[in-house]
Symmetry: C2
């Protein structure tokens, strides 16, 4: 089976969209953006044994590769439209490909995202996905719009994906009733597309949590030239988390664990009512965890009203290399 | 130096475009497509030791990674606009990064292409580039528009990149005055952007030559449901080629060598005059090498008016793996 046969068998004939004038099979995809909209584009690479275990269930990997990219569209408040997939494989394994496609296209079809192109190459296992979305002009949720006095919020609960990873590594034993939950949180992140769209006229800034709250929120503080004050007691923790580890370790996982793909966003006080209505409407839980204040960019932690110091920081896969 | 510092130092502050509302640094890039245009998108991955030698000059590699993608935009007749770069590196080597950026941004600036995002990950050396271009609505050069009777054309000369590769591998000795020429043809492919744009209202189909004329032209015959007849004596060969190898080997390299990144296109007889004018205007040499006829999809070769059979076929890097 050669490159063209693989593409024909596994990667064509999925989700159709009227705005795809030409999908895979020519030199370029040809796409029609709706009038008065802005194009949003994001790219993420997943490398075997850096971002995932090489023997990871291919269905979960297919889902994950698309989910982490859709999460970037969610963080801008964009409508997902099209996706390109560059897949580098050490060999053609049809069982693996079938599983990967199952996970990838299930999520793509859920959000009506069309695969419009990509590349298939031989080499060490690695996946690069580029997603394209559209946004009404001027409505994007950026990182640089936060103002002093805005509340800081997150969707869902934090640290569960990190707990799932630690469970998989055998470092933490999660009680039986929670095992499937934390594994799903790690393997099947759910991009917060609807929440992102609902926040368009409400949030002053937003991003998605991929590296961990502490490191990610720091990007908002830098871009907005403000300081963030977090109250650790307010961090939303799952029952799986509180049943498994002590408070200190739960905070550590919630702040630095990464891979949650929840949204972190800031909201002016005057939009608080709108926020309740908008996120209730799409069934997404959210929690106020602190506020933006004037001061040097960075994140300040308090517990019981006192400053709190954390040992480890956000994950940077280049740190060990340099 | 971490991921964010690398991006800041090497990948920001280059070519500015007014249609880039938000470049690298947020969750997504935000881009403004001109009215009444179609978006053209293409993705290519280059993997070390599959598509290039891992010790290849990083300046040439940076150029090549962008050039092979721009070549896909050229093949559709698109105007290049934006590019995303996903770079996977085994380690942070600043000398290498500086060289890579030099080659990449020199070409990007030449065509006024803005780097709008991407990803930087640790892992086996690999580069995935996604380019975005715009096209007046309905003007794209597709592969499926050829008609019986159309002439088949190529730009430039064929097989020189393959000759450069064979020189580098030590398989073929190229005479001294031609050595730099064939090395440049292999290492510094030049995307035919202007020629592609000039062909918009003239060619009935087009693609770029990446895998070799024989395999690539077969895509036009399949998409257009026609047969291609090539006259081998008409293949444009450089003096470097004819001075180095015999006719038979020259044809072999021209037909199956790959990496030329010239355009192959079909033109109705009635547009022949326009073609001369349009390509002369942008200073691009081109040659008529055959014609499209009714019949089973595929490519027929003739030499001295007789059928000609070639041993080897187009390159497929998955063929050895399956």
């Amino acid at each position: 089976m050669n490159e063209f046969e693989i593409i024909k068998q596994y990667f064509t004939g999925h989700c159709g969209r009227k705005d795809v004038i030409m999908g895979p099979g020519d030199d370029c995809a040809l796409l029609q953006l709706p009038p008065n909209t802005t194009l949003a584009v994001s790219t993420d690479t997943l490398v075997a044994n850096v971002h995932f275990f090489a023997d990871m269930d291919p269905v979960a990997l297919g889902h994950r590769a698309l989910a982490v990219n859709l999460s970037d569209l969610a963080a801008m408040g964009a409508d997902p439209c099209w996706v390109s997939l560059a897949l580098t494989l050490p060999e053609v394994n049809e069982t693996w490909l079938k599983g990967f496609c199952e996970g990838f296209f299930e999520l793509a079809e859920y959000y009506n995202v069309a695969l419009v192109g990509g590349d298939m190459t031989k080499g060490p296992l690695s996946i690069t996905v580029t997603v394209h979305g559209s946004l009404p002009e001027g409505k994007a949720l950026r990182r640089n719009g936060a103002k002093a006095g805005d509340g800081i919020y997150v969707t869902g609960t934090l640290g569960d994906a990190a707990l799932g990873l630690q469970q998989q590594l055998g470092n933490i034993t999660v009680a039986e009733p929670h095992q499937a939950f934390v594994r799903t949180k790690f393997e099947h992140p759910h991009p917060r597309i609807l929440a992102g769209q609902a926040l368009r006229d409400i949030a002053s800034s937003a991003l998605d949590l991929s590296d961990g709250l502490l490191g990610d929120l720091a990007h908002i503080t830098t871009a907005s030239d403000l300081r963030a004050q977090l109250e650790l007691e307010l961090l939303p923790l799952s029952k799986a988390m509180t049943d498994t580890v002590k408070q200190e370790q739960a905070w550590q996982l919630a702040l630095t664990g990464g891979d949650d793909y929840e949204l972190c966003f800031t909201v002016p006080e005057m939009h608080r009512g709108q926020l309740e209505t908008a996120l209730a409407h799409c069934g997404v839980k959210f929690t106020r965890i602190g506020r933006m204040v004037a001061g040097e960019a960075g994140v300040e932690l308090t517990a019981d009203g006192k400053p709190y110091q954390l040992a480890a920081r956000s994950w940077d896969h280049f740190r060990s290399g340099v």
